[in-house]
Amino acid sequence: MSVIATPARQSTGGISARTVNRIVIYSLLALFALFYLMPLFVMLVTSFKTMDEIQNGNMLALPRAPTFEPWLKAWGETCVGLTCAGIKGYFWNSIKMVVPAVLISTLLGALNGYVLTKWRFRGHTLVFGLMLFACFIPFQSVLLPMATILGSLGRFGVTLRNATGFSFGLGNPTVNLVFVHVVYGLGFTTLFFRNYYEAFPTELVRAAQVDGASFFQIFRRIMLPNSMPIFVVTVIYQFTNIWNDFLFASAYAGTGDAMPMTVALNNVVNTSTGVVEYNVNMAAAMIAALPTLLVYVVAGRYFVRGLMAGAVKG
């Protein structure tokens, strides 16, 4: 596919034309690499500087005396709204929300994909189409009814707690968010597994069926052991999406102790009381970005595959 690299006709211009060509290409590529790296670099560098150095120094300069202070402060002391106990609690909120939501939605997606490819029934395309379209709706169009329902469930939870001493998670913002993310993540997880299982030989399933294997036995013994790559892709995709979500988080857990990391970060940065501690803000932003960045660094290939699968559809 590489054309400019092997120009059939330009070779008359000698080596120099080709060299110039290469220099232009490489400098452009390097320039864009700078463009993409710059904000992260500035964020990182700033998070290790003292306030004094930020106000008097250059944004791009490396910290003269790198300090971990802003990171510690962001983690344990900075104010989110009126509580000043750092962002660590919110970080754990996010973890508590992300882990169950990812696991449940991925498992359901796997089962759905299995049914939609290996146990087809009349109207399976319509069912899939309806679930797929759900991936694309602007969540604003379901935001309000969901808030109403979650509110009623919360009141029901209070009644339940008064009666039985246990609310069964109803009204708990973290549980609510897990539920919301499972519901609106199902479309994507189903899509991923459906497309993956589509290519999986149906003969194997039929053969096992003839041998008397049940629906779940086939899923457990034949499908699951062969689904590792798509599990990784789906888990990463869901993890990134749910960790990064802000709309649901701010609508259903926007205040109080249960808010996830994204909402807390936005509060930290937009708190207008006192001196704005930019270094602490940047450290908080770095902490919020680290889990997804880490996943990206460790499993970038799967991350890209997930994005592609999400983009290049049914």
Partner: protein
Amino acid sequence: MTTVTTQIKLTPEHGARPGVSMRSRLQDALPKIVLAPSFAITIVFVYGFILWTVYLSFTNSKTFPSYALTGPRAYQRLWRWTFESDPPSSWYTSIINMGIFGFLYIFICLALGLFLAILLDQKIRGEGVLRPIYLYPMALSFIVTGVAWKWFLDPGLGLEQTLHQWGWTSFHFDWIKNKDFVIYTVVIAGVWQASGFIMAMFLAGLRGIDGEIMKAAQIDGATTFQLYRRIVIPLLRPVFLSAFIVLAHLAIKSYDLVVALTSGGPGGSAWLPSNFMYEYTFKRNEMAVGSASAVIMLMTITAIIVPYLYSELREKPR
């Protein structure tokens, strides 16, 4: 799904027959039973809720939902606001911003993505290093992206200040504080985040093109430029379509970026319809208007997505 449930309930009544039949009936219904909860959830929480939102948009709901239908008043107000440009209504600002942001975001991402993909496809040494660098912003949340760019574009602290220190004192860049230009900073941050991903899509497309076609064209004397314009880019049409769908849907959904980058901009000047919806529903106690704007957003996306999904799902004969 009703058929599934009735089937199970009916089984015991046929109970005179040996248990085998019941078991096999259950086995037959099992796939549908497994799928049923997910499908039911989708029907209720997606389509049911959409209808609920549509219903609310025809009521007089303010702070709390009210369920007495009062006609299309919310839509009439939005319609009136659509033309209220001086001083601009929030809705007018939101849809104009959507137009500017949507067009520039999609166009620049496509152009930049294609450009970078073509450059990267020239047998580049270090491609393995460059690609992840272009792509990593996609792993960040809009909130983190917003925070980073807010800092970078801040006239007192970021780029402007840095260039002043380097001696370019006439450099002036305060778009993020300027109500007429703040939406363009949202474009910059949005492009920064998504263009690398679009690059990856195009690169995958380029790698899928048959090398023979290219060789044939070269032998016929096509210049590099002609080659790309006449052969490669037309071959990439499906990628353009997918990328467009992804970007359009990201653009209409963008909410967090505006919040984190600009807090809505001076006087709400950076609002997109998604911000309008959130503010009117949850902060200004105009639930009906908020719902109506959500319905309009949904219809816009539907107009783009449904034909696409329809062709995708139909194309493949099974």
